[in-house]
Amino acid sequence: MISVASIVTAGIFMITLGLILAVILSIANKKLYVYEDPRIEQVNDMLPQAQCGACGEAGCRPFAEAVVTGRKNPAQCTVNSPEGNARIARFIGVTMAKQEKFVARLACAGGSHVAYKRANYQGLTTCQAASVVSGGGKGCSWGCLGLGDCAKACTFDAIYMDKFGLPIVIEDKCTACNDCVVACPKDLFSLHPVSHKLFVACKSEDQGDQAEQECEVACTACGKCVADAPQGLIAIKNNLAAIDYELNDLASRTPIERCPTGAIVWIDSKLGTTRSSRGREAKKIIRIEPLPLI
C-alpha cells in the first residue's frame, strides 16, 4: 500500500529544497562572481576529474589553473590519456614552432684507452663529486671523468657509457633537453643542430706537447686544420681549434684529414648512434684496455 500523502510531501519537499538551493546558488553565482581566466574552466573540463592529486596539485581544477598559467605541463596528469593531454596542450597553445633538430655533442674523446689518469680517485662515483676532489685525477683537467653523470641525468636514455668510459649520445633519442649540459661538471656537452658536422672533440687548453702527454687524441693546436679549411672557418684559440659555426655552410671533411691526433672530427648521424669519423692521418689506436696510472 503506497501512501499518496507521503509522495506528495516528499515531492513538495524536494521541489522546495531544489528551488531554494538553486536560487541561492544562482544568486551567489552572480553576487560572488570573481573573474577568472575562462580557459581554466575549459581545461578543467578536459581533465578526467579523478581528483587524485597525482599531478602534485590538490585536484583537477588547481591543476587546470597550473596548466593555464604555465606552471605545469598537461602531460603531468597521469590519469588522462596522452591524446587527451595533447588536446589540452593544443588548446592552450604550448606547441613549438618547427625547428631544426638539436642534439647534444661531447667535446672530449679521451676515453680510458687514450687519456692518462694521474691519480686513483676513490669516493663517490659521480663526475660532480670527483671533479671537486682536485679535478678528479685525470691527467687532462678538461677531460671527461667517465663516471656517467650525463647518462644518469638523461631522462630519455639517450646516453650510454661505452667501454672506454666515454658517453655516447644516441641522436635519435636525444631531445636536446639540456640536462646533460647542466650535469657535466666539466662542461663538455653543448647542444648543436645536427647540421654542425665539423666538430672539435677536445677541450684541452694545454700547450701541444703537454696536451699530447696527457691524452693521445688531444688537440695539439698544430694548425693543420686551420690551414686546410676555408678562410675563417677554423681558428686556434687558447691552444684549441675553434670552429666558427656562422660559416658552417663552408664546412667539409677536408680540414679533418691531416689532423695528427684526430681531435677534429666529422659527425654524420645517419648511423643512429653518434659515430664520428676521424681523419686519414689521425694516429690509429687499437688499444682497448685502460692506460695505466702514472
Binding site: S6, M14, A28, C52
Partner: protein, 196 residues
C-alpha cells in the same frame, strides 16, 4: 567516561575510531594528498572546516526531515545541502578572503567529494547526537583525519629520501604505511572506555 560525553565523542572520532585508519573513510584524499606535508596540512584544515559546516547543516536539515517525517530523503538532501554549502563557502571565500581561498579553497572541491564528509553527517544521525555532540564529533573526525594525513605525509616525505625498492613505489607504499599506522592506532582502542 560516559559514551555520550563530548570528550569521549571527540576522542573516539579522533583516535579510537579514527575516520581514516579504523573506519576507512576519506581514503582517496588520504592517499592522494599526503605526499607533501604542507599540502596535507592545508587539506587537514580545510577538511576540519568542511566537516564542521556539513555536520551542522546536516543537523539542521535532519530536524526538518524529522518534522515532516521524510527520513527516507535523508541521503539526497544531505548530499544536496552539503554540496551547496561547500560551494557557497567556496564562493564566499574566493570573493572576500582570496588569500585564504588560495591556501584552502583549492581543497574544497576535492573534499566535498569524500566519504568522510558524508560519513560524519550520516553517523551523527545514526547515533542521534544532539547539536553539541555533532560539533564535537565533526571536530574529532576532522582532527583525526588531519592527524592521520599529517603522519602519513611526514612518513612519505621521509621515505622520499630512502632507496625504495622499485616495487614499493607510490600506492603500494601508502597502503602498507597506512596498514602499519592503522595497527598503531589499534593501541588506542578502549581509551577512555573499557579500561577502568
Amino acid at each position: 567516561m560516559q559514551p555520550d560525553s563530548l570528550i569521549f565523542i571527540f576522542i573516539n572520532a579522533f583516535l579510537i575510531n579514527n575516520f581514516v585508519l579504523a573506519l576507512f573513510l576519506g581514503l582517496c584524499p588520504f592517499v592522494g594528498v599526503s605526499a607533501k606535508r604542507e599540502t596535507a596540512f592545508n587539506m587537514s584544515l580545510a577538511t576540519i572546516f568542511v566537516m564542521f559546516v556539513s555536520s551542522t547543516s546536516a543537523y539542521g536539515i535532519n530536524l526538518v526531515l524529522q518534522y515532516f517525517d521524510l527520513q527516507f530523503l535523508r541521503l539526497i538532501s544531505y548530499i544536496a545541502i552539503i554540496a551547496s554549502a561547500v560551494q557557497l563557502v567556496e564562493m564566499t571565500m574566493k570573493k572576500f578572503t582570496p588569500a585564504l581561498f588560495r591556501a584552502l579553497g583549492i581543497y574544497l572541491p576535492l573534499i566535498t567529494t569524500n566519504c568522510a564528509i558524508l560519513g560524519v553527517a550520516l553517523f551523527q544521525t545514526f547515533r542521534e547526537y544532539d547539536f553539541l555532540q555533532c560539533v564535537a564529533f565533526s571536530l574529532g573526525a576532522g582532527a583525526g583525519f588531519g592527524l592521520a594525513i599529517m603522519l602519513m605525509a611526514g612518513l612519505r616525505e621521509k621515505l622520499e629520501l630512502a632507496n625504495l625498492p622499485n616495487i614499493t613505489q607510490a600506492a603500494a607504499l601508502s597502503m602498507i604505511l597506512a596498514g602499519i599506522l592503522s595497527m598503531t592506532f589499534m593501541g588506542f582502542a578502549g581509551l577512555g572506555g573499557g579500561g577502568a
